[in-house]
């Protein structure tokens, strides 16, 4: 085996541990290294990262496609802001999680009937439908209509800069708790059942796994985390309106999940950073075609991801082998 191959093997085996350590160190050091404006962007990136962790649980491990996670963000943010003045922000975010879990369970029930790309499109419709709802005249008295809602969470800080730092640590703590929680959830009885259901629902059922229950639960849990992330993010920004969490966020979350490896949890936060920063970069390259740049870059990444093993083999001069029966 070449040196390169051995190195690749080491990274593959220890990659996740290394990445986790790197992400943690960076997260703790960040507010000291980059105080001021940039901290706010990073707080938002972590919120999106929570959303991607939720998506990895559902899609990466559970095999159910969701292009509707912006809907959980939106629902969570509205529930949090509507309830926060009465029950306090922390409790409101918790209720936001529960509300998002209920929506998730509903989608999970639909997911029992349609799979794959169809489920992806159905959830996309949820993102579109929920986008429309806060503006409806019947709901406007609660949702603030098209002018949105303001809420300033009470924090033990007075200056805007100090508030930003507080938010950073709060969001980071929640993100850590959720990520560690998902990590252990995946290694629990439920996690094994979830992956079994994804791999082969028929076999999982024959082994005693209630695949329907597991799939619906996964959707509810994933929705809850995304809803919590939405509530937090709303708190960080202090203002929400119907277009705070547009359907494009669903797309960005899904892409963030795909390009950072569907089954690597710490990498989710790299995905979150991509959501915050890449559109700006793409816009800097060309404002008219920024989404085209984004789409093109995504295709290039996917191409590398799919064909990397073959390209690597060609690079190291070994015969490329294709599995028998691979004709797709």
């Amino acid at each position: 085996m070449s040196v390169f191959g051995r190195l690749a093997g080491l990274v593959a085996a220890r990659g996740n541990a290394l990445l986790t350590a790197a992400v943690l160190v960076a997260a703790v050091a960040y507010p000291f290294l980059f105080p001021g404006y940039a901290i706010n962007s990073m707080t938002m990136a972590i919120c999106y990262g929570i959303g991607i962790v939720a998506l990895k649980l559902l899609t990466g491990y559970g095999g159910q496609f969701s292009l509707g996670h912006s809907a959980f963000f939106a629902l969570g943010s509205y529930v949090a802001f509507i309830l926060a003045p009465t029950i306090g922000f922390a409790a409101a975010v918790a209720v936001a999680g529960i509300a998002a879990a209920l929506l998730g369970a509903l989608l999970g029930l639909a997911g029992l009937r349609i799979k794959g790309h169809y489920l992806g499109l159905l959830t996309f419709m949820v993102a579109l439908a929920l986008f429309q709802m806060p503006k409806a005249s019947a709901l406007a008295p609660i949702t603030g209509g098209s002018s949105g809602l303001f809420y300033r969470a009470p924090l033990p800080a007075t200056t805007p800069a100090a508030r930003d730092v507080w938010w950073y640590w709060i969001v980071l703590a929640v993100a850590l708790a959720i990520t560690v929680g998902v990590h252990f959830l995946l290694r629990s009885r439920f996690g094994r059942a979830l992956q079994a259901s994804r791999d082969n629902a028929l076999a999982a059922g024959a082994l005693g796994v209630d695949t329907a229950l597991v799939d619906v639960s996964a959707f509810a849990v994933s929705g809850a985390f995304a809803g919590i992330a939405g509530g937090l993010l709303a708190g960080v920004i202090g203002y929400i309106s119907y277009d705070s969490f547009p359907y494009t966020l669903s797309i960005l979350l899904f892409v963030g999940m795909t390009v950072t490896g569907a089954r690597s949890l710490p990498a989710a936060y790299l995905g979150g950073a991509l959501i915050v920063f890449v559109p700006t970069w793409a816009h800097d390259i060309t404002s008219r075609l920024s989404w085209a740049v984004y789409g093109g870059a995504l295709l290039a990444l996917l191409y590398i991801q799919v064909n990397a093993p073959r390209l690597l083999q060609r690079l190291t001069g070994r015969e490329a082998t294709r599995p028998v029966g691979d004709v797709s």
């Binding site: 159905l122 439908a129 409806a136 390009v259 989404w291 789409g295």
Partner: protein, 299 residues
């Protein structure tokens, strides 16, 4: 106030209007079903591709190309474009799993949408219709252009249906999707079938776009707004049934038109929410679609 006859005429008018929009939904739904039947994918970018085609047609018309020539050239270009996208974008990613394929379609969606916006800008444009916009005859409950949509759309649906069900190429397309390995062993050029499938779907989408454009606003968002309805049509009709997609599209068009007139507030503000609730209800009660006969055993 509107008496008995008046309300019947209004109802009839709305049903016919709904059938015209529904015919367009049917067409786009059919495009979705065709791609599904040839590649087992659901093309998220289908609507964006159709918008691109329609704006291409608009460009040809604005250069002075006669209507039917522009129509035909656009269909041909769309076929080539769809096939090219399959060959250049989807084919190199064939080794990826369903997740990768889905992400690729998201990328396509963003790319096509962005390019369309960059070329034509966000402004709405007027697109001519085959038949005049005035009522078909004095006092007729439907405009000429909607009759045109129903006729042309209906004809295309019939042709496609026969093509998929009866022709050899249609059979090969369906065999490719059902199971590519034996299809290849049986001598079917699977890769070419996939290109043709994408080409056909793009062509149908283009036709749907050109029919729809006169009665809605033609801008880069046009088909994006229609795609949820076409998707709903495939759910109503059963995801793998061409006939179901057609019937589903018509049903949704009519229901939408009725909601618009009888519950205007709902129809204007919560159209998509209603649509979603309806889809969810259908999935929970009759997941195989309303028009697919239940089959006994499965596995």
């Amino acid at each position: 106030m509107a008496g008995g006859w008046g309300s019947v005429v209004v109802l009839l008018q709305q049903v016919l209007t709904g059938l015209a929009t529904g015919a367009v939904y049917s067409l786009l739904a059919l495009a979705l079903v065709v791609i599904h039947q040839t590649t087992h994918h659901l093309n998220l970018a289908q609507g964006e591709m159709a918008t691109l085609s329609t704006l291409t047609a608009w460009q040809l018309l604005s250069w002075g190309v006669p209507y039917w020539a522009a129509f035909a050239v656009t269909l041909a270009l769309s076929f080539a474009g769809g096939a090219a996208i399959q060959r250049l974008v989807m084919h190199p990613l064939r080794g990826g799993n369903a997740l990768v394929q889905f992400a690729a379609m998201i990328a396509l969606f963003l790319l096509v949408n962005s390019v369309t916006n960059a070329i034509w800008g966000p402004n709405a444009r007027a697109f001519p219709s085959i038949l005049p916009a005035r009522p078909l005859f004095e006092g007729a409950p439907i405009s000429g252009q909607r009759v045109g949509i129903i006729l042309v759309g209906g004809a295309l649906v019939v042709v496609l249906y026969l093509f998929l069900r009866r022709s050899r190429l249609g059979l090969n397309l369906r065999a490719t999707a059902a199971n590519p390995v034996p299809a290849r062993l049986a001598g079917i050029a699977v890769d070419r079938m996939r290109m043709i499938g994408w080409g056909i779907a793009a062509t149908i989408g283009a036709a749907a776009g050109m029919l729809l454009a006169p009665i809605v606003t033609l801008d880069p968002q046009m088909m994006f707004n229609v795609l949820p309805f076409a998707f709903a049509a495939t759910i109503v009709g059963g995801v793998s049934s061409p006939l179901g997609a057609v019937v589903g599209g018509l049903v949704i068009g009519v229901v939408e038109a009725l909601v618009t007139i009888y519950a205007p507030a709902l129809g204007r503000e919560l159209k998509l929410s209603l649509l979603f609730v309806a889809i969810l209800a259908i999935l929970l009660v009759r997941p195989e679609g309303l028009f697919v006969r239940r089959t006994g055993a499965r596995l």
